[in-house]
Amino acid sequence: MSNNTDFTLAELMIVAASEAWRGDGEVLASGIGVIPRLGASLAKLTYAPELLMTDSECFLVEEPIPLGPRGDYVPKYSGYMSFERVFECVWGGRRHAMIGPTQIDRFGQTNLSVVGDYRKPKAAILGVRGLPGNSINHINSFFVPNHNTRVFVAGEVDMVSGVGFNPARWEPGMKQDFMDIRRIVTDLCVMDFEGPDHAIRVRSLHPGVSFDEVQEKTGFPLLKAPEMGETPHPTAAQLEIIRRLDPHDLRGAQIKGNPPGIRVAA
């Protein structure tokens, strides 16, 4: 065990994100965004070398590429993964993506399209992108940099872009077996879908965060996992890898104010 207390919340979340890919085997690990990508990279460089990763463009690499300007680092490509190949991978189910949806509901349904009324929305975001296909075909996890009730909404998300465990949405004969939602990593906690009927549970709380605070900032009731404890702190070895993968400290800009990993009681 490390007793390292000098780490940021972003670094704690990177380590928590990396845990999402444990035990997946040879799948394409797609961490979309700085923290999920660093999480996937950390997983590959520690306990899961079998994971496949890309250069975030169209080539596969066995050595995760550091983020941002590369200096004299030269990527070593091991294969090809054009967007067209990514879709083949998605439909074949050999992928675990971690993405940051605009909204998530208690069923694990996600929204990346619009906030508010569909025809005349309060805010147009990106569009559904690949969420419908990803969510029904392969493993997904979610990343939320600012845990609040605007993200974790009461009721259903405004536009169901990614499928979830909502029985009302599934008609007889539709194949739900390939759907698999694993983890939600937020700035407050780590959650999973391992409660009764896939209810969302808090699996671990980040240092200094209470369950009540998480519940208060979530639009639907949460369960406590029986083994719920504190989110593991990064080890010195993990921090060294993270710093090497992110030499320009892009992670420092991901969470507002770049707070320390161990929260000082208010």
């Binding site: 250069d55 975030s56 463009e57 169209c58 080539f59 983020l67 941002g68 300007p69 590369r70 054009s82 967007f83 067209e84 879709f87 998605v90 439909w91 399209s113 619009v114 569909y118 025809r119 005349k120 929305p121 309060k122 805010a123 147009a124 975001i125 990106l126 569009g127 559904v128 992108r129 690949g130 969420l131 419908p132 296909g133 969510s135 029904i136 075909n137 536009m159 169901v160 872009s161 990614g162 499928v163 909502n166 949405r169 599934w170 008609e171 007889p172 004969g173 539709m174 194949k175 739900q176 390939f178």
Partner: protein, 291 residues
């Protein structure tokens, strides 16, 4: 056989109400020189089919879009496409919002001349609920699975930007990722390509010829358009123009912003456009983004 024409010749083929597919992906290798020519024209009421970037945003800003068939619109490094967002939020667009996979499945079906292709993508989401014309179908085999029957997305016209073309309509896409331009080309009654360079007739090595992703019989016209993807990327030659994107994004927040953008960059023509953006020399050497 010589398919060489101008962007204005291409736009002269367009009619109000047509369904037009665009190659590229988000802010990458979009046929922007032809898009600008559409912006200069009277063509309207278009159904635009795109993995959207500034092609979608600018056509929306100019009021050319009646219906959008899309999975997203983004400038990537600037996640929210400003003019798509503004026009989308006004409620002015008809929409068929599709999963990215469904979108290309529809183009594939059109290219293969079948009425639909089955997929799981889109089931159990609002994509099917909001587009009641999307039907499900039950597998006729023992599994009996219910699948979405993604209808063919037939295009009147496809517009694609490539690195190299010849006058016969042979094309090369030399960037790392060819995206889905081949599907866009196959789904259309007529595909027009713009190209960084146009040769009389390509004479390639086997390694070079592998960058050809669709056949010339699909190509009806070839437009010489150096830096024709600007301000989007055209790998491996040039990256996106972040300064230009910022100017474009700012226009969406300004009173009369679109008219000012048109006056400054579009209306005076492509030569003036290049001058305004520092000339071909600068535009063609913008660094590729690093991720």
């Amino acid at each position: 056989m010589n398919k060489l024409m101008t962007a204005a010749d291409v736009v002269a083929q367009l009619r109000d109400g047509m369904t037009i597919g665009f190659g590229g992906w988000g802010p990458r290798r979009k046929p922007m020189a032809i898009v600008r020519e559409i912006l200069r024209s009277d063509v309207k009421d278009l159904t635009v089919v795109s993995y959207g970037g500034p092609d979608v945003g600018m056509l929306c800003a100019a009021g050319k879009v009646k219906k959008l068939i899309f999975g997203f619109a983004t400038l990537d490094a600037i996640p929210l496409e400003p003019w798509y967002r503004k026009v989308r939020e006004s409620g002015a667009l008809e929409l068929m919002e599709l999963d990215e996979g469904m979108w290309q499945w529809g183009l594939r079906a059109a290219g293969m001349r079948v009425p639909f292709l089955p997929t799981r993508c889109g089931l159990a989401t609002d994509v099917t609920k909001l587009n009641p014309e999307l039907k499900t179908i039950q597998s006729p085999y023992a599994d009996g699975e219910v699948l979405l029957a993604m209808p063919a997305l037939k295009l009147d016209v496809a517009l694609v930007h490539v690195n190299v073309a010849d006058q016969l309509g042979n094309t090369l896409i030399q960037g790392g990722d060819p995206y889905f331009d081949h599907l866009v080309a196959r789904a259309a009654d007529a595909c027009y390509v713009s190209a960084e360079r146009v040769e009389e007739r390509l004479a390639l090595t086997p390694d070079q010829a592998r960058f050809n992703t669709f056949e010339r019989y699909l190509v009806k016209g070839v437009v010489r358009a150096p830096c024709g993807a600007h301000p989007t990327t055209c790998a491996p030659e040039y990256g996106w123009d972040m300064g230009h994107f910022k100017r474009y994004v700012a226009s969406a927040a300004e009173e009369g912003g679109w008219q000012a953008y048109m006056d400054e960059f579009v209306t005076p023509g492509e030569a003036a456009y290049q001058d305004k953006n520092g000339g071909i020399e600068r535009m063609g050497t913008l660094p590729l983004p690093v991720f």
